[in-house]
Symmetry: C2
Subunit: 326 residues, 2 copies
């Protein structure tokens, strides 16, 4: 067996080049952050396990980018701009240098693209599957973090982008996909493989949103959760959910996929509650940031779960509200 680099060499070769100023060259016990004056800090962590949150044979760069992006999505949902991240990486014994090179290259590309440099981490060996935990931290103007619980009656509920692509894409990845054109399949597969965190919308969220969360566990479940935490409800015409062209094609070929789109996870789009007065400015800023937003409901007083309405005006019920990890 060729000799392996030790932990310090591994960090120096693969990860130190990704470090920002807070990372101190990854040569210290910890990262050092001078908090931006006038801001609150937002911290979030997400863990990904090979075979659970991604496929072991996914491209290593995509695995790294997904791990960072799901955390960037949380920051964006809180209205926070990224400042940096820490990575805890548990590597199985059979890791290869070319794999780690590609992993670090993907991580570096996103760290650079999103302005979120590596600030520190830990690399350990595991007899189990590759496991990554990213902790990202960001800054939001003091007092402006958008809570899940902040939705008020009368707020318009917006979603960014399109819903359900990743869940349909996962089905395609598992060989359950509908017969649709190859380009549509690829689009949906890519949406599963690589979420698009709405970092560019963070400022508008901080400025305008009463409440916000990212949709990681499915539109229906996450909306239900946000409204419940806010003590409001809604009537949601689900047939007007924003779908991609590929998503529509998939649902046309296999109508059951509409339910998959509505309740499936991994969208990493945002649900944002905006007061009607702020809606024009929010829409204009989203437009300027190149992020499509669609109003899908209006929050109303009441503690009942939201009602999802079909095209015939009748209530639609879903088999389960949300993705559960257990």
């Amino acid at each position: 067996m060729p000799s392996r680099p030790g932990e310090d060499e591994l960090i120096a070769r693969f990860f130190a080049p990704l470090a920002g100023p807070a990372g101190l060259g990854l040569l210290d016990d910890a990262a050092l952050l001078e908090p931006p004056p006038g801001d609150d800090l937002v911290l979030t962590t997400d863990a990904l396990v090979a075979g659970v949150h991604f496929f072991t044979d996914d491209p290593p760069g995509a695995i790294a980018r997904k791990a960072l992006r799901v955390n960037l999505s949380d920051l964006a949902a809180k209205g926070a701009r990224p400042l940096g991240f820490l990575l805890a990486l548990a590597l199985p014994g059979d890791w290869r240098e070319d794999w780690l090179n590609a992993f670090a290259a993907g991580l570096g590309a996103d760290a650079s693209a999103y302005g979120c440099p590596l600030a520190g981490g830990d690399t350990v060996a595991t007899p189990g599957p590759l496991t990554l935990s990213v902790t990202a931290f960001g800054a939001v103007p003091a007092g402006r973090m958008a809570r899940r619980s902040g939705v008020r009656p009368g707020d318009r509920i917006y979603v960014t982008g399109t819903i359900g692509d990743a869940a349909i894409g996962l089905g395609i990845r598992l060989g359950r996909g509908p017969e649709i054109p190859k380009a549509d399949k690829q689009f949906l597969l890519d949406r599963y493989l690589l979420p698009q965190p709405r970092v560019a919308l963070a400022k508008a969220i901080a400025m305008h949103a009463h409440g916000c969360m990212d949709i990681s566990d499915g539109f229906v479940g996450d909306l239900t959760k946000m409204l419940a935490l806010s003590g409001v409800t809604a009537r949601v015409p689900v047939y007007r959910l924003p779908l991609s062209q590929a998503g529509r094609a998939a649902i046309a070929a296999k109508p059951d996929l509409f339910v998959v789109a509505a309740i499936g996870g991994d969208d990493y789009e945002l649900l944002a509650a905006i007061a009607p007065d702020s809606a024009p400015a929010f829409e204009a800023e989203a437009n300027a940031a190149g992020i499509p937003v669609h109003c899908v409901a209006e929050a109303i007083e009441g503690y009942d779960p939201p009602r999802f309405i079909g095209p015939d005006g009748g209530q639609v019920t879903f088999p389960r509200g949300s993705y559960s990890h257990f």
Copy 2:
């Protein structure tokens, strides 16, 4: 099989009671931290894998506490007082509620004892071993973080507590231990199981230390690393290393254990470089905090690795410098 709580219920039952104000009841996407005015923030992450960093049958409360404490040790080494932590927990499928109850109880006890509440986290399923990543964050007066690279010629190098107990304790845990009294064995086993992070020394480190790091990978290797990063060297009379009474008993029974003590990991004591002028104040503050400190060397100019000196004045070499995870 009895029904299992879902992820939200699991968080609500086991972890939400541990949340501090920054954790927002663990009901949001992220933690919210108002940075203490005039402070820099210090962030650190450490991952622990069952079967690698602890024994699968260790008491669950001790596993939780060790995961938090190794991070608190990093904060202390930087002179930072703890503010909170995030926990990413990858749970194997066979987890039991009584196990998780005990885990959360241990975590909560330390979070309370060290003033470091839970601020957020992520709980996922894994087909592999239990894996924990803790990210702890703390505050240090602006500009006062003690770097590994800050040691200056003339500084006195102090170590806290005693060296080697955990490494000898690990040997006992593995059945390789020497014949020593049961109470000594238990002391050494406990030192391996449950490190004592030197949180109470953080303020004195921030006030007085030119450089500092915690000893996680062994005294010899970590001292060598800190001096190299600082561009200084030292002559270290290793026979004067502070040893516990139990450690001395173990070495008396099996002299090879001295090397284990000097190079073995998991001490989680601090190495602090203090200018001679500051030494009396540092010693007085350590004494007031109840933390023994011993001066083990003086930093001198030069880029050579430190020389370790035996009782006969001759140089001692060690089989390897430091614990490597790979």
